[in-house]
């Protein structure tokens, strides 16, 4: 039904038809937002390295939680040792996060859930040992991109993670 008043569609259509040619792209662009600036620059190398280290530590804490769930019941020596090392990873995570001023590009507030099926103490510890050595090496590989204080923190954490390997190996039931 029309009462002589032009419809909204007709007004919009007339506006576009009547607009100067140069203004049409602007009208169209308004539908998807004007790109005033280019895409934001990627974060600097030290922020990327820090974010990666935070994610790695979160995964390590989760891996130890999974290991605790998978260790045979009654293996108190292994449980105590795994809890001790997990606490050190939690301390690493806290220090790394305290160095990140801006939010991580890919916040991982909920660490990836890692489930570990029940297994032998030896196989679980062996998996953790391999992860520790790899984590230590990875941190040292990032040193070139870091400012001095952060490089010292990475080097210290890398050293700590390397020491977890012989520490886990000396637990009764660990693979020789």
């Amino acid at each position: 039904m029309t009462d002589g008043t032009p419809s909204r569609r007709a007004v919009l259509g007339a506006a576009v038809r009547g607009a100067p040619l140069a203004a049409v792209p602007l009208v169209l662009a308004a539908c998807r937002g004007v790109q005033v600036l280019g895409s934001p620059p990627p974060p600097p190398a030290d922020i990327r390295a820090l974010s990666a280290a935070i994610t790695a530590e979160e995964q390590m804490v989760a891996a130890y939680s999974a290991a605790l769930g998978g260790l045979p019941g009654g293996d108190t020596a292994a449980v105590l040792a795994v809890r001790t090392v997990q606490a050190e990873h939690a301390a690493h995570l806290l220090q790394l996060k305290s160095r990140l001023i801006e939010p991580a590009p890919h916040p991982s507030a909920t660490p990836r859930s890692v489930t570990s099926p029940p297994g032998s103490t030896a196989s679980i510890l062996q998996g953790l040992e391999q992860a520790e050595q790899a984590a230590s090496d990875r941190l040292l590989g990032q040193l070139h991109a870091l400012p001095p204080a952060l490089a010292q923190l990475f080097a210290s954490i890398a050293a700590s993670e390397a020491t977890h390997v012989p520490y886990l190996q000396q637990i009764p039931g660990a693979a020789p």
Binding site: Q95, L143, Q152, A162, T163, Y167
Partner: protein, 145 residues
């Protein structure tokens, strides 16, 4: 090369000199033929090698490597195999801290050398202590709360 390089190398060399001295004390309190004495001898040699490497690095940069002192004050009395092991672990902690000064340098080669040495010291400390540390070489005051 920045002006901070040679002083950082000198302070690390001083730490290695004291470790070389300290392992002599450690070895004197360990039983002949024991695994601990073998480990101490191995660690002593490793510190001598690191000391020589640092000496060469300083000379290569035009510095004069500081000589070792005649003797060093021990952080606590060493009277047994147990306190000898504690001394070894304590020395490794302190040498690791010295190497962290190299990690703060901009020269990548020295930074990597320092970081590898921090790791090696931490591994030796773990073997003497039987336990690990969350932040080897970092003084607690440097950690954020």
């Amino acid at each position: 090369m920045t002006a901070a390089v040679v002083p950082a190398l000198q302070s690390t060399l001083a730490a290695e000199h004291s470790a070389c001295y300290g392992y002599g004390v450690v070895g004197a309190h360990l039983a002949v033929g024991s695994a601990a004495l073998s480990a101490a001898a191995e660690d002593w040699i490793a510190h001598q090698r690191a000391r020589d490497a640092l000496t060469a690095m300083i000379s290569d940069r035009g510095g004069r490597p500081a000589p070792s002192a005649v003797a060093y004050e021990l952080p606590f009395p060493v009277t047994s195999a147990t306190t000898a092991a504690q001394l070894a672990a304590t020395m490794e902690d302190r040498v690791a801290q010295a190497y962290l000064t190299l990690v703060a340098l901009a020269e990548l080669e020295l930074r990597m050398f320092g970081a590898e040495q921090v790791r090696t010291c931490a591994l030796r400390a773990e073997s003497w202590r039987g336990s690990t540390q969350a932040f080897p070489g970092l003084p607690p005051a440097s950690l954020r709360r």
